[in-house]
Symmetry: C2
Subunit: 205 residues, 2 copies
DNA sequence: CGTGAGTTTGACCAGTTGGTCAAATAGCTA
DNA sequence: TAGCTATTTGACCAACTGGTCAAACTCACG
């Protein structure tokens, strides 16, 4: 096992290669469907060598999820209470859609974990995620109270943003099978902009 | 292997028990993560007995998916070109949300398959699904041309309905972790109704 | 260039996997 | 109830699984 000191050049390179390979395999097959051999091969290492850097398959998965959850929520954290409400929300939607385009493997890793009941991540959901969401929901409600955006169920508003944007990463195959050659993300960007403008623009009544 | 004649009483009972168990296990763990032993135990049969009814793990999965895809698209097929457009679409959204509430395992089985690249179902997507979608998109476009609903990208409109409704089945754990005790489907029903009314109501400009 | 730490590997292990098979049992019908 | 078919099972198999270990190799640094 690598010591607890500053990582060597080789440790840095191999750890990165392993996490990269693990992300590929876990996101493509889920935790139980992934094999250590497959990850090792993809990382260009022997299996015992891989297990020299991470003590178990579980540990690799954990490392990936821990890193992921933090960056995954950054776009929501960035929702700024001093900005123009509709602009802020549209920017959030845009950022989330960008993440689906640029980090589809991360999105699918997360999707696999949640679809299968989030056995390894439930606590983080009901604590960290919930806390952040509750905080941002308060902001949304203050915007609605002030009549700056239309009143809708704030939790479901957030769910809708997650679902609509992550869909383009998680269900990419299906989207492309239906769309053919057309780029999904160009159309999605326009569509989602329209959708949230119409949903959230303050209503006269 | 059971003969090709009419299924006996025992065959009917056991096949049904196996498919029920297989649905549980596949939807919870994905194809590679599911084990034949687990399915057999859950169906109350021994493993060899299970393999007497289905020749392989693959065959069970196939049987489930084949049955699923058909019923899964029924709500879309029911979109009626002689109805009132907005009413028809809201009814479609409502039916899809109901399916997420009443058949979450089926939704997750499908989600698992798609997230992992649809290796066993891609052909059906790019043929049957695409054909049906193309057909219904033509209907949507005719409604938009006639100014009976607002003009949006029709494919992304359908994607949005799939994603928003299936989210409540596939990401159920996450939704409940955030919402706490509140019933997700009550709020979702109202939210989605509002969303699609605002998105699709014909606009003056 | 020697030496100790860091790295890599082949051989191995016990448990699990999907699947087979012959033999035993249960069910049905003449 | 005899005899045939349908059903069930224990024992088994080869391949694969996650993981271990001692021995070998490589590297950085004095």
């Amino acid at each position: 096992m690598p010591q607890d000191r500053a990582p060597t050049r080789i440790q840095k390179k191999n750890r990165a290669a392993i996490l990269e390979a693990a992300l590929n395999v876990f996101s493509a097959h889920g935790f139980r469907g992934a094999t250590v051999d497959q990850i090792a091969t993809e990382a260009g290492l022997s299996k015992p060598n891989l297990l020299y850097y991470f003590p178990s398959k579980e540990a690799m998965h954990e490392a990936l999820l821990a890193e992921l959850l933090d960056t995954w929520l950054d776009p929501l954290r960035a929702l700024d209470d001093s900005g123009e409400p509709l602009t802020e929300l549209l920017a959030y939607v845009h950022r989330k859609l960008e993440m689906s385009r640029d980090y589809p493997r991360e999105s699918r890793l997360f999707a696999n974990e949640i679809v299968q009941g989030a056995p390894r991540i439930y606590q983080a959901l009901s604590e960290d995620l919930k806390a952040l969401v509750d905080d941002k929901v308060a902001l949304l409600e203050s915007w609605m109270d002030a009549g700056r955006i239309a009143r809708v169920h704030p939790y479901h508003l957030l769910f809708s943003i997650w679902s609509l944007t992550q869909h383009y990463a998680d269900f990419d195959v299906q989207v492309r099978a239906v769309l053919g050659d057309e780029d999904p993300f160009d159309g999605a960007d326009v569509f989602l902009d329209t959708l949230y403008r119409r949903l959230l623009s303050p209503h006269p009544n």
